[in-house]
């Protein structure tokens, strides 16, 4: 009964129902969404990781990579070091290309002597006026008794993701290749891939493997079967290491199957006694703060969607991959890393099916704690939902009564009977202008998208500043045109402002809730940055008040515009705008990152419309 009467009251108070309640609901959604995320690291909401795929059997085999294999490792290392030092010592005399060729020849001869099939692949990428070229060397151990239906990839890039020389990693890959060749238990082919760097090499190789490579990348002369998993070895240190850092983020926030990560953690920690870290959290004490920090770091990487290592390029092809990086100064040597990789390969070799049992959508907060999509998704969904609620409320409001009155406040004072009569009258919606404006501005987003991915890297900084200025002028210009009807047959009516906002928020809510299922973190971040847009509208009140408030509002809104956020982050992190944008353009051209699409075609238009609405109060 009480509920019924409450609802009756609601209906009798249309101002509350249409103007106040949506604001309240939206705000609650945002707050609950954020609080939800903050609750996730608690024990009650996160879970202990577990191995879901029984076939993996991590750490159940004895790893034999010890003893005289270390002598071989040192031998190979001496050989490669000799070649590299030879190039360094002579400096100017010897061309870098010559050294690269000599090293590549040596790699091939070592792998061939070990009985592997070898091949090379040259590639070249051009992005933002910078050309990246290199040559991949790879070798295949044919599975004895196998028939090239499945394969595992071991990658050793010459330059790690942190731009260090990965001499130990490459040497270890060579030693393992020779060692693995002796075993007859492999059910899958093992591919050893030596790439010149962590950014381009694997991408060129994996694209060519699936025949989706651009013309500037050579096709692969030698292939195997369906790839089941990939491991990247990074050991750039020249001393013993303390722990393994497992990097798992893929391009566009895609993640490898949680089972692969868990297997790596179980083998490193359980079998080998090497600690496993993630997200550069050294000395994780399993406290709430550290868990939250780990989760936020993971979310940042996921949201930005860039490749965090050589493994990232595998993810778009549904190949699970991780990077094992050695960190710290401790007791573990290259043989311990080798045994870890041997054990991991044995686990992957056990797989009967492609990794599919465990989670693909998760947030990790400690090497043995995670939250799955069912638990964290509502957080981003609530934030995306706040826009949808607002959009629907505005749509209903525009249909129910004509907004002839200048202010909502004024309405409130009116008698309820009069209100009731008003609510029953149905208003005609003028859709043409709002629809074309919203769609037009979203299409306009293609301009910065094209500009920021196609100009040369030297112009990135200046273009960003130009865009900051454009972002100030464009909304005011549009607002002026709309309010004064410049060139239009008749000026815009208040209902249309509501409709513009409604359509804009509807699109935003729709995009973000869809995005939340694909890239949770990106959706969450954009959603948070767009939150003010739910609450900005054409202001009521006197002209000076409106001018002052809207100017202040515009300045505040300006702070959450895409270029300003970019500049702010660059300033905070101390990196140059050019570097960030070059990386972004590279991601777009080579890795196929679509974070930019979300920024320029979802976020920026929504922000622009918010500014136009606020700016229109000035006129």
């Amino acid at each position: 009964m009480a509920l019924k009467s409450a609802i009756r009251n609601l209906r009798n108070n249309p101002h509350f129902l249409f103007a106040r309640l949506p604001n309240l609901l939206s705000f609650i959604c945002v707050v609950v969404g954020v609080v939800w995320l903050l609750l996730l690291p608690l024990n009650e909401y996160s879970r202990q990781t577990y191995i879901s795929e029984n076939a993996l059997l991590p750490g159940q085999v004895h790893a034999y990579f010890t003893g005289s294999e270390q002598n071989i490792f040192r031998g190979y290392k001496g050989e490669l070091e000799g070649l590299l030092n030879d190039g360094q010592a002579r400096g100017g005399q010897k061309d870098e290309a010559e050294v690269t060729a000599a090293v590549s020849d040596k790699l091939q001869s070592i792998l061939q002597a070990a009985g592997l099939k070898i091949a090379t692949q040259k590639y070249e990428y051009t992005s933002a006026g910078i050309t990246h070229r290199g040559e991949n060397t790879y070798a295949i151990i044919h599975a004895p008794r196998g028939d090239a239906t499945e394969a595992i990839v071991l990658v050793a890039p010459w330059i790690t993701a942190d731009d260090k020389l990965n001499l130990n990693g490459v040497t270890l890959a060579l030693t393992l290749a020779r060692y693995f060749k002796r075993w007859s238990l492999w059910s899958k082919d093992i591919i050893f891939l030596i790439t010149p760097d962590s950014k381009t090499g694997t991408q060129a190789w994996i694209d060519a493997y699936h025949d989706t490579h651009p013309a500037s990348v050579q096709p692969l002369p030698l292939k195997s079967g369906a790839l089941q998993g990939a491991l990247v070895i990074e050991y750039p240190l020249d001393h013993r290491f303390q722990s393994l850092h497992i990097v798992y983020d893929g391009v566009n926030g895609q993640l490898p199957n949680l089972d692969l990560f868990n297997t790596a953690v179980a083998i490193a920690g359980g079998q080998m006694g090497i600690g496993a870290d993630l997200q550069e959290m050294w000395g994780h004490d399993d406290s709430y703060e550290h868990r939250l920090q780990t989760m936020f770091r993971g979310m940042t990487k996921q949201g930005l969607g860039y490749a965090t290592g050589a493994h990232s390029s595998f993810m778009p092809y549904h190949i699970d991959a991780i990077t094992l990086q050695t960190k710290g100064e401790g007791w573990e040597d290259e043989m311990a890393l080798g045994r870890t990789i041997e054990s991991l390969c044995r686990s992957l070799n056990n797989l009967l099916e492609h990794l599919h049992q465990s989670f693909f959508f998760y947030l990790l907060m400690q090497s043995n704690r995670f939250v799955s999509i069912g638990t964290y998704l509502p957080s981003a969904m609530l934030i995306a939902g706040n826009f949808t609620i607002m959009a629907i409320a505005l749509w209903m409001r525009t249909g129910y009564y004509p907004e002839s009155k200048p202010s909502a406040k004024h309405k409130n004072e009116k008698a309820s009977t009069e209100e009731k009569a008003k609510t029953n009258s149905i208003a005609e919606r003028h859709l043409a202008l709002p629809l074309s404006l919203v769609l037009g501005l979203h299409l306009l987003g293609l301009v910065p998208l094209w500009v920021f991915n196609n100009i040369f890297h030297q112009y990135f900084t200046i273009t960003t500043y130009i865009f900051v200025v454009v972002d100030i002028i464009l909304p005011l210009l549009l607002a002026a045109i709309l309010s004064n009807g410049l060139g239009l047959s008749k000026p815009i009516i208040p209902q249309q402002y509501h409709l513009i906002k409604s359509f804009s928020l509807l699109l935003l809510g729709l995009s973000l809730s869809t995005l939340a299922t694909l890239n949770f973190s990106l959706s969450f971040m954009i959603g948070l940055l767009c939150t003010p847009l739910s609450f900005v509208a054409r202001l009521p009140g006197s002209a000076p008040f409106r001018l002052a408030t809207s100017s202040l509002g515009l300045v505040l809104l300006k702070l959450v515009s895409p270029p300003t956020v970019l500049l702010g982050i660059c300033w905070y992190m101390g990196i140059s705008v050019e570097a960030v944008l070059t990386q972004a353009a590279f991601g777009w051209d080579v890795w196929g990152v679509w974070t930019q699409v979300v920024v320029w075609c979802v976020w920026w238009p929504a922000w622009l419309i918010g500014c136009v609405l606020l700016g229109s109060s000035m006129f």
Partner: protein
Amino acid sequence: MTVLSLFSLPLVTLILSLWSSSAFASSDYHEHLLLHPLPQSSLLASFNFRSNTSKQSFDQQHFRYLPRALGQILQHAHTKELHLRFTTGRWDAESWGPRPWNGSKEGGTGVELWAWIDARGDEEAFAKWITLTQSLSGLFCASLNFVDSTRTTRPVVSFEPAGDHSAADQLHLLHGTLPGEVVCTENLTPFLKLLPCKGKAGISSLFDGHKLFDAAWQSMSVDIRPVCSADGECVVQIEQTVDMVLDIDRSKRSRSNPIPRPVPNEQLVCDTSKPYNSDDTCYPLEKTNDKAWSLTEIFGRSLNGVCPLTDFDGSSDQSVCLRVPHERGVFISEEADEIKKDDGFTRCFKLAPSAPFDLSIPQQPVNTEVPLDEPVLHAERTIVGHGQERGGMRIIFGNPCNTSAVDFIYFESLPWFLRPYIHTLHATITGHDGVLREVPASEIVKETYYRPAIDRERGTQLELALSVPAASTVTLTYDFEKAILRYTEYPPDANRGFNVAPAVIRILDTAHNAPIYIRSTSLLLQLPTPDFSMPYNVIILTSTVIALAFGTIFNILVRRIVTLDEAAALGAQTLKGRVLGKFVALRDRLRGKDTKVE
């Protein structure tokens, strides 16, 4: 043809001639083993067992060498000619050269079966084919009963009968493959039981399941065909072969200690010329091909004399042959005799009837190598593209010969859930100049035999007659779509993918009488697989809950709640409302009466 001149020919001719000689004895049995060390410390061991039974005694079910179990199956299923293959692994043509028996005794990965069946029509032939596969399935402990209509094809030009058939027979060729079948010792045991000496004596005593199935590549075959001489006398010939490529290092490991542990430091063979070479640093020197091995080490047992049922005539008393350069020393058991052939590489051994035989080759640097022929054609087939909706097939044919083009038939039988688009068949050709050219497929493909698939009934059958010009590489590509299966059609390991049978290539070479066969590797096709597990259920459940909650709230907000009077007033305006109002009034009146009665 004398025996000596016979062995002066290359390996292939040698095997073929052995196989064709003395084929007309009415009832006889021969066995032969050829050992051929290959590069990369591999050893090809090629076993051949052949016996004849006269047609008359076969028809009267009077079996001597031909196994009764198999003979009766053939008679029951009216099968005139049968070819059965069990294969694992892949032949590494790049290192090992051309295939043994020109590929005619091997199958694609898994099990392959084709037979000529005498029947009046297609349906009858298929019924007999099913009988045949079911019976063979029991006999060989293989899943041959899974060769159903979707896995059966009727090749037009890829296979020709090898036997001499009477014109009265209406022969139907049926072909089936099981690419996912794992060949194992359970298939070897029935295979050995078909042999007259059943693995107890003769070369078949070398078969050990552990060693045989540890081979890098192995193929077992059974061929039965009628052979007629010019004077019309016919015999039924059964030929069984086992070919395997053993890794010498791996096979030499003892069974008690099969783990390839790192060798002790002092046993490492290091390159001492390196400046950094020391006690703990070693640049390894890989061992060369001239590894020491012996029969006992490789096969884990010694050869038990000669099968007493063997007919001793001509060359067949030299049942073991070895192809190494003559300069290489070979130690054999005392009772056996060594006969060196004058081609410089082949030597055969005459075994003592009952004494065990062993041969061993010591490690010895040699200057000459046994020459390996270049394969006539390289073929590679891969699936390209990614995603669960569509993909593409890419087949690369390389002709290494500089002078002549290669003509061949390319035969592919695809499962029905892989739907090829033949109109997308494109060809590119890379000539000796290394320039890639796009050519119309019709320029390369001379003839096409295509039988499209019917969902759940039969697979696609594609036979292409192709020609690859000299010193060129031809790449054929076509696109395909992946069908969505019904959820009950998925096997338990649906996420592994589905096996696509290897393609068969038959090279029409005029120089050889017998065609050369090459088979590609099998493929793994990822189909759109429903997630039979949790995370998506979570998404679906969450979405449902949100939709429900949203729907309810939206409903409450938008629904117009009015008092009963208002509702009546509103409702009375419509026709439906009026009718309903009358009805309600009537009901109220009736009910009112009822209460009054009470």
